[in-house]
């Protein structure tokens, strides 16, 4: 379980997160929703150690992640697929995956085979440079690269950004399937609220860095005010 308490993050005079508290249950999907500038990406980057909070705490199964370096947090089992996917375009598909497998204790070949089975298109393009992949394929590669390290927590930042609706639907199904075993905890940051709420167990809505809703995904989806004012889901 990830426990976040009274977390605030500032960039100079700009306060990106204000007193954010939330719990992310093990084996569940928690969607973090909100408009541009709500602080969603900052929240994920702070959990991963890329940003330093001004106040507050982040614990993973009772262990504090504060002041841990990003590489150590990754080694503790937190995988992060950043906004824009972060695949290394100069690397081939397989090199990207080998890089992701660096901290895994699973034999490399078994890890690669598992990901090629999960995302067959990556197997077909294993020798191709990542820069030449389509947006959807890059997203698959970014997820496979995070998953090959066998994380216990997966942070996904706007995975549907720039993808066609059909690809987004497939992607969301893949995320849902990943969590079906109950061993992987997902924090899913999305602007595409309807897609995220469809697969999430829990949802947190941020607005200008503050939590305005923190409830089950069904209740958030049913809240007309939230839908209209914070999630842009106008009927």
């Amino acid at each position: 379980m990830i426990t976040i308490e009274h977390l605030s993050v500032s960039f100079g005079a700009v306060q990106a997160l204000r007193d954010v508290s939330m719990e992310v249950a093990t084996g569940k999907i928690t969607a973090v929703l909100g408009s541009n500038g709500a602080g969603k990406t900052t929240l994920l980057r702070t959990i991963s150690g890329l940003e330093e909070p001004t106040t507050g705490s982040i614990d993973l199964d009772g262990k504090s992640l504060l002041r841990e370096r990003p590489e150590n947090i990754a080694r503790l089992g937190v995988g992060h697929v950043p906004e824009g996917r972060g695949v290394i375009g100069e690397f081939t598909v397989e090199e990207n995956l080998r890089l992701g497998a660096m901290i895994s204790t699973t034999p490399l070949r078994a890890g690669l085979d598992e990901q090629y089975e999960r995302f067959p298109v990556l197997g077909e393009r294993r020798k191709q440079h990542a820069a030449k992949l389509s947006g959807g394929e890059r997203q698959m590669l970014a997820m496979a690269r995070a998953l090959i390290a066998r994380p216990t927590v997966l942070l996904l930042d706007e995975p549907s950004l720039g993808l066609a609706p059909l690809i987004t639907a497939q992607l969301m199904r893949a995320i849902h399937d990943l969590c079906s075993t109950g061993s992987l905890t997902v924090i899913l940051v999305e602007q595409n609220a309807s897609s995220a709420l469809r697969i999430a167990d829990h949802a947190v809505v941020l607005h200008l860095g503050s939590v305005v809703a923190n409830d089950t995904a069904d209740l958030v989806a049913a809240d007309e005010k939230l839908r209209q004012y914070y999630l842009g889901m106008v009927e």
Binding site: S48, L50, R69, P70, E71, A74, R75, G79, H80, P82, G86, I88, E90, F91, E95, R98, L99, G100, M102, I103, R145, A146, A149
Partner: protein
């Protein structure tokens, strides 16, 4: 073709190749640092010079040649690693002029320190191989045992570096850290260590180059031993592309051969002029370098 002319051309090509692999190695060491940290290391000649003095200085204590070479290279790794940790680490993310000023200052400090410790008098290094040119038909051929050794050493270093980057886990992490440090950290790569390692490798390669240069009978080891070679290596790196190890080596060899012809057919004073001309023209035609694929980065 006139056999005398043929022999002269062959001699120039081989002599240029010998110089060129040295320029290529200097360019390669510059590229290693640039790719991993985005810093143009103007002390790239002085740092290995200092390590070479440390290692080869042990010859005075009756240690034989090859152990001294090995110790010099280890000292090169140490100088590179310590420099990155102590001097360079605080420069990342700072305005691009800062590392340039700091590294030029470091070059002056190292050369001054070497002069104070070991004097400016050239110190001859024992040459493990003969420098007398091979003869064909009574004419010098442009190659000697030592120049063959230089070429083999340079090729071996290049193959080792290329294999490290291409085929090992460590190389994958080094490349990833250079290309995308933030993503690498998110994947558990210890980027700080990789940056240090990049500087260590670069100075290690530089130390091998310095030993080759200083082993030349006419040069010897001095605090400024690498200044001239650095200039040509820098031009080779800029022409080939600061992001391209292959470009660094190919342009180093090409520049070596071209300048050998210039020195032979024109005047040795024209060599630096032609080298600068090559730099200017290549920067006008392809500012990123002839072999680089990535976008331009301001220096």
């Amino acid at each position: 073709m006139d056999p005398i002319l043929t022999s002269r051309i062959m001699s120039d090509v081989l002599g240029g190749l010998t110089n060129g692999v040295v320029y290529g190695l200097v360019a390669l060491s510059l590229v290693l640092v640039w790719r991993s940290t985005g810093i143009l290391n103007f002390a790239q000649g002085a740092m290995p010079m200092f390590a070479t003095y440390v290692g080869m200085g042990l010859l005075s204590y009756h240690l034989s040649y090859w152990p001294c070479v090995a110790i010099s290279i280890v000292a090169g790794f140490a100088v590179g690693g310590v420099t990155e940790r102590v001097l360079v680490r605080g420069l990342y993310g700072k305005p691009e002029i800062n590392p340039i000023v700091v590294m030029v200052g470091f070059l002056i400090v190292l050369e001054g320190a070497a002069a104070a410790i070991w004097s400016t008098k050239p110190r001859g290094l024992p040459n493990p191989f003969s420098s007398i040119d091979y003869q064909i038909g009574g004419k010098p051929f442009g190659l000697s045992d030592f120049s063959v050794f230089e070429i083999i050493t340079a090729v071996a270093v290049m193959v080792i570096i290329a294999s490290l980057f291409r085929f090992t886990k460590l190389g994958l992490q080094l490349r990833a850290s250079a290309l995308s440090p933030e993503v690498s950290r998110l994947l558990g790569v210890r980027v700080g260590r990789m940056l240090t390692l990049g500087w260590m490798l670069s100075t290690g390669v530089g130390t091998v180059t310095t030993i080759l240069v200083a082993s030349n009978y006419f040069t010897g080891l001095t605090p400024q031993v690498m200044d001239g070679v650095f200039a040509f290596g820098f031009i080779a790196a800029a022409v080939g592309g600061l992001d391209s190890p292959v470009g660094a080596i190919i342009s180093g060899i090409s520049i070596g051969i071209i300048l050998q012809f210039v020195g032979d057919y024109f005047n040795s004073n024209d060599i630096i002029l032609v080298a600068l001309l090559i730099l200017v023209v290549s920067l006008m035609v392809r500012p990123n370098g002839l072999f680089t694929r990535s976008s331009v980065r301001r220096v």
